[in-house]
């Protein structure tokens, strides 16, 4: 427990470090915050300064940073210029859609990835396995934006099976609960597949490789020599050992699913963390940029922590220190 706590505290400081760097880096870009007022040619410098001052942007960057630090300690993440509400609210509101896509994608990629990987290892060298292996490489290398559009073209445009964008239908509010759930599932399908395909392929290939490595170990040979049933060898001796490194991927892949994918969210019009990040950067919404960075880096760090914890639980030889 002590270890986890230590790591968590560490991770908070690390997130802050990252946010601090971003805080200063973003100010190296041309300042276009409140671009609309800059477009007003006769607006006096005085008024622009007053508006900037109301957001504390008139002060030197260092002072702004100290103010930000002070606010953060009291739990205030600042106020978004473009959404005109607290940064924390923006992040919470955007996190829900990201999760809605992320969780199914997570289940899909690990479920299918492990399944295909294990089956591939078992059938190594057969024609079907070799084909699958190459196919996975193709899936892994497909650009997400291309895959997304192709899926829409196929499943929404041609076959009209799944809705092409958004998280629910236009008449969502008039639906019964069952219909609502069903409607949401339909909407989640394509973006979740798009988001999960590349990781799924990577996980499948990874699982296959670790599985093969384990199957060539001497203790498996020993088991075979003992005359143990193939199934028992496979399921009881090989599988748990082979899945060990796969489980560590859980943590590493966490950010892919839960930190918001810019591309998938753009294609399928999902107002998630990815879209929030892009909008905040394009409009130089400084408090939001820093807030989102803080959030995303925290997810990455927590993901790593989960990896480590899972590893120690599954492999008694490794103890957290």
């Amino acid at each position: 427990m002590g270890f986890v706590l230590k790591r968590l505290i560490n991770s908070i400081f690390l997130s802050f470090g990252i946010a601090t760097i971003v805080f200063f880096l973003i100010r190296l870009l041309p300042d276009v915050s409140f671009s609309d007022i800059y477009l007003n040619p006769r607006l006096s410098e005085d008024v622009i300064q007053r508006i900037r001052a109301s957001y504390g942007l008139d002060k030197p960057v260092l002072i702004q940073f100290l103010n930000w630090l002070k606010e953060i300690i009291t739990g205030n993440f600042g106020f978004s210029f473009i959404y005109r509400k607290p940064v924390i609210d923006c992040i919470i509101e955007s996190f829900a859609p990201t999760l809605t896509i992320g969780i199914p994608a997570f289940i899909f990629s690990f479920g299918f990835g492990i399944l295909i990987g294990v089956q591939s290892a078992r059938n190594q060298g057969k024609l079907l396995e070799r084909t699958t292996h190459s196919l996975l490489l193709v899936l892994y290398s497909l650009p997400t934006f291309w895959l997304g559009i192709i899926l829409i073209l196929l499943f929404s445009y041609t076959l009209e099976l799944f809705p092409p964008s958004g998280l629910h239908s236009l008449n969502f509010n008039e639906m019964s609960l069952i219909e609502k759930i069903y409607d949401t599932i339909l909407h989640i399908f394509l973006p979740a597949i798009t988001l999960g395909t590349a990781p799924m392929a990577a996980i499948a290939r990874f699982t296959r490789n670790t599985m093969l490595k384990v199957l060539s170990q001497t203790y498996i040979k020993t088991a075979k020599a003992k005359g143990l049933d193939e199934k028992i060898i496979f399921h009881r001796h090989a599988l748990p050992n082979a899945l060990l490194p796969v489980v560590t991927l859980f943590g590493l892949y966490l950010p892919i699913f839960f930190a918001g994918s810019v591309v998938v969210e753009e294609i399928f019009s999902i107002p998630g963390i990815g879209k929030l990040t892009v909008d905040s950067i394009f409009q130089r919404d400084y408090p939001l940029i820093v807030g989102v960075t803080l959030f995303v880096s925290f997810i990455v760090i927590v993901g790593n922590l989960i990896s480590d914890i899972l590893y120690s639980i599954l492999d008694p030889r490794i103890r957290l220190k």
Binding site: L39, L43, R84, E129, L153, S165, P271, F282
Partner: protein
Amino acid sequence: MRINHRFPFFLFILILLIFLGCRKETRKNYIVIGSTIDIDSFNPYLSTSLFSQDLLDRVYLRLAVEQEDYKTFVPLLAKRWEWSEDSTQITFYLRNDVYWTDGVKTTAYDIEFSFKAATSPEVAWLNSEDIIRNIKSVKALNETTLVVKYHYVYPYQLTDINDIWIVPKHVYEKIPFSEWRRNGYFDKNPITNGPYKVARWERGQLIELVKNEKYFDKNYPKIKRIFVKIVPNESNLLLQFLNGEIDVLPSIPPAVAEKYENNPNIKFIKYPFLAYEYIGWNQRNPLFADKKVRQALSYGINVEYIIKVILKGNAVRSTSPFPSIFWAHNDKLKPYPYDPEKAKKLLTEAGWRDSNGDGILDKVIANKKIDFKFTLITNAENQTRKEIATAIQNDLSKLGIKMEIQVFEFNTFMRYILDKNFDAVLSGWRVATKPDLTIIFHSEAIKSGHNIVSYSNPIFDKLNDSAAVLNDLSRAKVIWDKVQEIIYEDQPYTFLYEPVRINGINKRIKSETVRMNSISFLYNLHEWELK
């Protein structure tokens, strides 16, 4: 590979989904408008994009409706209006039967308040400049009488007062002006008075407008429910339009429109847009300080090719800062023809020749030999501009001019332009419906304004100033013609083309009921009808 025993289960789920998914929606009694961007806010003073304005105009009423000739106005919130003897004052008599969606009556006091908001430096409304300069006061005498006083007499007195968004005083005054930009209050429950009211706004997803039951004209709107679906990805948006999920798609690229011209379910509505695309030559840069050079560049760019090949003919050649459909446009000006020989000759006259045989023109300026090399900047979001930039690069290389292209994200691009930190810029202006070139070409606008190319010509300044305030439009036209001749001669910009806007509608909508124009693509949305 052995088929897994769970496989039939997955197959079953998939088939189930497919069957359920096949239920097609029954006949829709609403329409869906597609957009790549969301609106900024339902507070019209904070909402600056063109799309926001088009949409907000459907939920907020103005005093009058500007007509497609950009000169006349038809009564709306104002039943009628009277001019004072000396024309420095207009008295508006308002309708007595207009209510905000919360039941409070829309009165002259709302307009008086709106004027304060429009001119408040704290609100910093984008269009406040003209209002502040021209309108002296707006005063409500009683609930239905409004008096507007002007500093002087000029032709666009109605245009200016009609530009003011009328917002509900009893709601908006709860938040002080200085807090407007920091407050999400206005977006929570928008109180409006137009034919439509806001039923739902899911940021970045959709907007739902429904018929406003309190609207004074009970015959409208004809279509009672409108959805705006926000899909940032253009390919996805187009597929949904072709599929019938989206009924109205604004701003379709010419190449796409050409491809689907024969689709039986959709109709394209094309109309000239009050806008033009240009290349601005930064005259602070010694390369472009000489008028002869700028003329040469205009002769050296094959605009006809750009229109024919890149825009598929969906554009009109531009010759002046007033588009050809606008009354102030000088019809006598003919576009600079593509004439590379003449361009070369002009460049030679201006002292540019290839003295070292490296294929690039050079000239000694301030005791230093410089090559004719520069960078053209444009914004990344606009695919057409990027293609045009490449065509121009090709044309100029034939003259011995080396042009680099640099593409920026829109906001950064604007920053570079406004800071005048560029050599040449490929961009466009949308033209206001009242002629005034002060902001873009007046020498005063170099310091504070949009004279981004730092063009300066005292004769132009004088003529422009006199024409802008002339109340007799036919006399003003004579001066505007002269002003355009000066611009034509000086070529501070190379005027490229006036775009033709292409919007698509599904044929479910009766196209004869649809009017789209440069003022708004949803100009008469409340009159649209379904088949």
